[in-house]
């Protein structure tokens, strides 16, 4: 939570010396609150105030990146307990765990397969976000070899899992450039793990075996040593305990500004559950309730597709509904003679009309206009779904090249656009469809002659 200008003003010298370029200290405070000035512009602010201001302007949950480059996973920097209060910002990373005891070939093969997994939804492509490699063998050389083999087969971010600092060290020698996460610093090994995290500038997970007190002591120690890209494992597993503990940690970080738990979480839904199915359900809970990096032990496309879909739902900005990428979508392998229907890019509008066309068995072309995620009537009344927009989309998507006819069906809710559209699209016959998606099958049956 950012400070207000008045709160910042209390820390300033209040001398109105103007050297910062602002007429008064209060004006400078206002600029600072709006992030339009830097505190360093004031030469007279005391060290003590500086520290207090820096601490207060820190996000309550630190943003931490695992991996480097465009595939890196960024988690944290959340500001609310419930998504309706603002939104959840950084989607949790779904990571698949392999073990070095399986041998480097097998681990690398799994990593490769997992890395190739892709699924499309609402015109976007999603997949697995990372690979965790566990030092099941306990042997540092075996681990390093396995990590090297995996990293040769995937560009996904890695989580290196070992409690033996030698194992982590020998693996980091090979892959530190890719900024893998170290898992985990514990009470027993934290000093050596801090050294490694500093040396290679990698994010580090901290695991407590004895509740939040021990966790806070460990993170405090790491932060004081300069390792601040931390990920937390409070050591709890299963449904009830993770719900309670993750909720408490989020509250401590947001509402109490308790810095030692102000970092994203890592969770292991596969530990302490009875089956892969239960793992998937618990992973779902962690998506909705405060998970950060979610490490799965089983990779099943059906489960992962469900989890990715859930993540998309939960992390949608309530102010900005899920949108389809505008474009010309094919329903059931349409032919050039198949109907052409126009709709908006609000995902639920798209799904309703696409679903009804499919259910009614109508191969068709569905032209999705960019209405900024608004439904038909809302978009129309906001001026984002008018004749001009529809005409431009028809032309822009080259609909005339895809269909051999010149008929376009518009939603019944915007029947008033017909006249204007006839002017904007003189070559096309404008057909007014039904008001409700449900009736589209019946409408086409009656009015569409192919």
């Amino acid at each position: 939570m950012a400070l207000t200008g008045i709160q910042i003003y209390k820390f300033l010298p209040k001398t109105n010396c103007k050297e910062c370029g602002q007429p008064t200290c209060l004006a400078f405070a206002m600029k600072l609150a709006a992030s339009q000035a830097e505190l360093s512009a004031c030469k007279y602010v005391s060290e003590e105030s500086k520290k207090a201001l820096e601490a207060a302007s820190k996000p309550p949950i630190r943003l931490v990146a695992v991996g480097a480059g465009d595939k890196k996973i960024e988690v944290g920097n959340e500001t609310v307990m419930f998504r309706h209060e603002k939104t959840f910002f950084h989607r949790p990373g779904l990571v698949i765990r392999v073990k070095d005891s399986a041998g480097p070939e097998k681990a690398a093969k799994t990593a490769e397969e997992v890395g190739q997994y892709k699924v499309d939804r609402v015109g976007m492509t999603f997949g697995i976000d990372g690979i965790a490699i566990q030092n099941d063998s306990g042997n540092a050389a075996t681990f390093a070899q396995c990590v090297a083999a995996v990293s040769a087969k995937t560009t996904l971010p890695l989580v290196l899992m070992a409690t033996n600092p030698d194992s982590i060290s020998s693996a980091l020698e090979k892959v530190a450039k890719a900024k893998p996460a170290i898992y985990a610093a514990t009470k027993e090994n934290i000093d050596k793990m801090i050294e490694l995290a500093k040396k290679y500038a990698c994010p580090m997970a901290v695991r407590s075996s004895d509740g939040l007190n021990e966790l806070a002591e460990l993170t405090d120690k790491a932060a004081k040593a300069g390792v601040e890209d931390l990920i937390l494992d409070p050591g709890v597993r299963g449904f009830g305990d993770t719900l309670v503990t993750f909720t408490q940690m989020r509250r401590l970080a947001l509402n109490k500004r308790f810095e030692p738990v102000g970092y994203p979480l890592i969770s292991f839904p596969g530990e302490g559950v009875a089956s892969p199915d239960e793992e998937a359900i618990l992973a779902g809970q962690h998506i909705a309730k405060y998970g950060g990096i979610i490490v799965l032990d089983h990779f099943s496309p059906a489960f992962v597709y469900g989890l990715l879909t859930l993540r998309l739902n939960v992390y949608t900005d309530p102010q900005k509904p899920i949108q389809m990428k505008p474009g010309l979508y094919q329903i059931l392998e349409p032919k050039p003679t198949s109907p052409l229907c126009v709709t908006t890019n609000f995902s639920l509008t798209y799904f309703s009309i696409a679903g009804e066309l499919e259910a009614a068995g109508w191969p068709s072309w569905l032209l999705v206009c960019d209405t900024e995620g608004l439904s038909v009537l809302t978009a129309w009344s906001a001026g984002k779904f008018d004749a001009d927009k529809i005409a431009k989309t028809v032309k822009g998507q080259n609909a005339a090249e895809k269909v051999s006819h010149r008929n376009v069906v518009i939603p019944g809710g915007v029947a008033v656009l017909r006249g204007e559209l006839e002017e904007a699209l003189p070559d096309w016959k404008i057909m007014v469809g039904p008001r409700e998606a449900m009736a589209v099958g019946g409408f086409l049956k009656e009015h569409w002659k192919s």
């Binding site: 309706h84 309670v244 359900i281 489960f303 469900g306 309530p318 799904f351």
Partner: protein
């Protein structure tokens, strides 16, 4: 460094308790908690959420083959279906009177009464009966249902803003609970509860159906409306503190992801797993956001969600 102090949130409000069944029939209590879902470290959750199995009075058309094979021939007869649902661990039966819909058979009050009689004698579980969703037919068949189930305290729905008087009246006279359905909107939900209580439905006889979007199809709205309603209720707004019912199964199994077995992208995985996880994630999400009863359809998802609730209640 000083020890970590766990923040405790104490609420002034509490979710109302609504009882179903009783007498010779098994009794369930919905609601009663004074804390957010499953956070019993700072409040009390006296009654775990109930898992009901949804059945219908007509052999289903267009259902997923996965669902149909799980139930076999039981789907041909609601009483047999209800019995099998009880064997599969249903804690209540939710019966949808599909055949009364004008386009699905247009059966009348006599058929509805007979079906409800049969289901009530087949199982001793609490019953929920949902009409076909067309106002005049709802009113016609649900009046008969209410009379047939007098003394058994069932839940009857739906009462909607445009059509609630008839169903509410028979719930009052026959001692049933009314299901108040509103479209994902806290103000409309509250408004309908006020209308119902104003005409005399006791506040402990209203169950809210806040509407449910399935995973991938508006689940985020279902999640947020429940969290908002729950926070308002615990904050002291008695007019939204009725227990919440979520039709997780019907919504999830309606979707393409749950049904489609052929020609799907490889990323969708196996159809056997997909429909079930779709239903489970839908149910889990609405439970964690605030639901006191979920209706579900597949025996496997019922089993797992019951186990999940058990664990969320802090039992091993």
């Amino acid at each position: 460094m000083p020890g970590v102090e766990i923040p405790i949130e104490k609420w002034t409000g509490k979710i109302k308790e609504v009882k179903l069944g009783g007498g010779k029939r098994k009794e369930i209590v919905l609601g009663g908690e004074n804390t957010l879902p499953f956070l019993s470290f700072e409040g009390s959750v006296p009654h775990p959420p109930t898992v009901a199995i949804e059945i219908q009075d007509k052999e289903p058309a267009g259902w997923s083959p996965i669902l149909l094979s799980a139930w076999g021939d039981a789907v041909k007869d609601p009483a047999t279906w209800a019995k099998k649902a009880a064997e599969y661990g249903a804690e209540a039966i939710s019966l949808r009177l599909v055949s009364a819909h004008p386009e699905m058979g247009d059966t009348g009050a006599d058929v509805a009464k007979k079906t409800v009689d049969k289901v009530l004698s087949a199982v001793d579980l609490p019953l929920i009966v949902i009409g076909p969703g067309v106002a005049e037919k709802d009113n016609a068949v649900l009046v008969a249902v209410s009379e047939a189930a007098k003394g058994q305290r069932i839940a009857i729905g739906n009462c909607e803003e445009k059509n609630y008087r008839t169903v509410a009246a028979v719930c009052i006279s026959d001692g049933h609970a009314a299901i108040a359905k509103s479209p994902l909107d806290i103000n409309l939900a509250k408004q309908l509860n006020i209308l119902l209580t104003d005409i005399g439905v006791p506040a402990d006889s209203v169950i809210m159906d806040l509407d449910t979007g399935a995973l991938g199809y508006g689940l985020e709205y279902a999640l947020s409306i429940r969290e908002r309603v729950r926070l308002a209720a615990l904050g002291g707004d008695a007019m939204v503190s009725m227990p919440v019912l979520s039709h997780a199964g019907a919504e999830a199994w309606r979707q393409k992801e749950a049904k489609a077995s052929q020609g799907m992208p490889p990323g969708w995985g196996s159809v056997e797993e997909r429909g079930i996880i779709w239903e489970e994630l839908t149910a889990l999400t609405v439970l964690n956001a605030g639901s006191n009863i979920v209706t579900m359809m597949h025996p496997k998802s019922v089993e797992r969600i019951k186990a999940t609730i058990h664990k969320l209640m802090g039992k091993k």
